[in-house]
């Protein structure tokens, strides 16, 4: 077991290195002289040749790419992503400042979608091919097809413009009313695919022999589904949910922009517009690392949660 854990951690390292290299190389994609372009963005005017030369040495662009990469990576590991080109503050400060708003939206949405997806998924598995199953299928197809940014605007139109019930934009300094529309918008698209996944996992378990045995013993259907099948189905479901961080991050960008929510998603978009690329670079890097780490933690947790998993060698 210990060997498996070490092996699994070692396996994650090449991916992490790859993610870091890809994020690092972003700033070197500028054609011609990146230093000149960067200096133009920072100073806002056409720099002279001497200024460019000085700046190049200052940010280390005169060194070989690999040396620059190692330098960047050793800083990034300690959370130092350099200084923002437009704000003059460390990139990490900007990210930490925006993190709480994102986290609030993130966890609320995750919890609500998880609850709804489980309930709807279980119902449509139990009542397979009945009305509720068809309803859930249509619901989840709409969920993946309707653009969240459009749904957000439609909800704003209904609840803020027409009914004056809820605030349309902004964070509202923790006022929960501001959280309602973004969470509904985001959950709708997020739980769509999850509902289908819960359904198919549960159906697969329900078709197994032990379920037949349980039923033959005369157990109540409720017990068979909830105590026996669902417990086993939970393993792939939890994996799927934890690995869907991607959908959450992608959704967060659109929803935060629609509702002017001051989180990391809108920070990313604002930074692209302000050409503040160190911030963009850091966000690309961190979102990749987040995925790899969650992936790793979930895998390792299984060795604890599921006694059936025994890793050889």
């Amino acid at each position: 077991m210990k060997r498996y854990i070490i092996k699994r951690i070692l396996q994650a390292i090449p991916t992490l290195l790859g993610v870091s290299f890809l994020s690092f190389i972003l700033l070197h994609l500028f054609p011609g002289d990146p230093a000149e372009i960067i200096l133009t963005i920072i100073s806002g005017s056409e720099p002279s040749y001497a200024e460019i030369q000085k700046f190049r040495r200052q940010i280390g662009f005169d060194k070989p790419l690999i040396v620059q990469y190692i330098h960047w990576l050793s800083n990034a590991v300690t959370g130092n992503f350099g200084v923002s080109w437009t704000e003059g503050k460390p990139v990490m400060d900007l990210i930490i400042q925006r993190f709480p708003a994102s986290a609030e939206l993130f966890f609320t949405t995750f919890a609500i979608s998880l609850a709804f997806a489980m309930v709807l998924g279980i119902l449509s598995a139990i009542y397979k091919d009945r009305a509720i199953d068809h309803f859930c299928r249509i619901f989840s197809l709409l969920g993946i097809s309707i653009p969240s940014f459009w749904l957000g605007l439609v909800l704003i139109w209904i609840f803020s413009v027409k009914l004056h019930l809820l605030p349309a934009f902004g964070y509202g300094n923790g006022d929960l009313k501001h959280l309602i529309l973004p969470v509904i918008t985001w959950s709708f698209s997020f739980m769509a695919i999850k509902t289908r996944f819960v359904r198919s996992c549960l159906l697969e378990e329900l078709s197994k022999d032990y379920v037949v045995t349980a039923r033959a013993k005369g157990l109540k259907e409720r017990v068979v589904v909830l105590r026996h099948a669902l417990r086993n189905a939970l393993i792939p479901i939890i994996t799927y949910f934890s690995l869907s961080v991607h959908h959450l991050i992608i959704g967060s960008i659109m929803v935060e922009v629609v509702f002017s929510w001051p989180g990391l998603g809108s920070l990313l978009v604002e930074s692209v517009f302000k050409r503040d690329f160190p911030v963009v670079q850091a966000l690309v890097f961190l979102s990749g690392v987040l995925f790899v780490v969650i992936n790793l933690v979930v895998d390792l947790l299984y060795t604890v949660i599921d006694p059936r998993i025994r890793y050889g060698d």
Partner: protein
């Protein structure tokens, strides 16, 4: 033996065709897509999407302007119809490029195995780790600064993340195909590896890849629209659904039709591809073509 294989394929095609017509999901999806395709093709009949008319600003839907007019007095209906052409053409270009590249990389990785497979597998892992839209946004931003705004920025930025799913799926199919009898048979006859790969392995992977491509078209259309909405996609005045919603959102209190209609068509297009793709998968699954 080749004749036999061709004959089997023909039968399969006939079978799939009739199944598509019987499968309700597939048929609905196909109808939606056909409508949008016809819209795109007949766009010139819908009028000029660029003609501004300041006297007719922000007019609500009427017989003259079915979807109303926008802040510059342009006809929203003709912009939505032309938008179908923009979205479809760009999505097809992106899919074609990423499919050819991704399938080739995946096939090479799965077929040749060894260190090639290890390296390509790692690269795929890295691309899967970064959320696509985050990477798309970063790339579009950088391309814009580097090369100036152009449609190709959007295409390139999406291709960079989109080829991965094709590579992954092709790789796993090829892995399962390469030890099958018909491949061993060809090899025994003395066929070259590349010939076997291109002539026998890839054609057999077509079913699952078509399903993937259909579902993926929906994703690509959504990504184009999302970038458009963020103001990073196709730039105005070219009509594009996401970008139309972006410029219409400031008028949501007075002219909600500016955001409503383009969004409806994004949803329809994505729904069409999802329905068609899911239906196709059902059909191929029942034939044992997709696991």
């Amino acid at each position: 033996m080749r004749v036999l294989v061709t004959k089997m394929k023909l039968n399969l095609n006939k079978h799939v065709n009739t199944k598509i017509l019987r499968n309700r999901l597939c048929l609905t999806g196909l109808l939606i897509l056909a409508t949008i395709a016809v819209m795109g093709l007949l766009a010139p009949l819908a009028g000029d999407p660029y003609r501004t008319n300041m006297a007719e600003r922000l007019k609500p839907p009427s017989f003259e302007h079915l979807f109303g007019t926008d802040q510059l007095g342009r006809d929203v209906f003709s912009r939505v119809v032309w938008g179908a052409r923009t979205s479809m053409l760009i999505a097809l270009t992106i899919s074609a490029i990423s499919m050819s590249f991704g399938c080739l990389v995946g096939a090479i990785s799965g077929y040749f195995g060894g260190i090639v497979d290890d390296v390509i597998g790692r690269i795929i892992d890295v691309f899967l780790a970064i959320p696509e839209l985050v990477f798309n946004i970063a790339l579009v931003g950088i391309f814009c600064v580097a090369y100036g705004a152009s449609i190709w920025n959007v295409i390139l930025a999406i291709v960079v993340t989109n080829w991965v799913s094709y590579a992954r799926v092709t790789r796993s199919i090829v892995l399962s195909l390469k030890e099958r009898e018909f491949v061993l048979c060809e090899r025994a006859i003395g066929a070259g590896e590349w010939y076997i790969l291109l002539r026998h392995v890839i054609p057999n992977a077509v079913g699952p890849i078509v399903v993937l491509a259909t579902l993926n078209m929906g994703n690509v259309i959504m990504t184009i629209a999302s970038l458009g909405f963020l103001g990073l996609g196709i730039q105005p005045p070219t009509p594009e659904w996401g970008q139309m919603i972006n410029s219409g959102k400031d008028y949501i209190t007075t002219a909600p039709w500016l955001t409503f209609f383009p969004g409806l068509f994004i949803a329809l297009a994505v729904l069409g591809f999802n329905l068609f793709g899911e239906g196709l998968r059902d059909i191929l699954e029942s034939r044992g073509f997709v696991e």
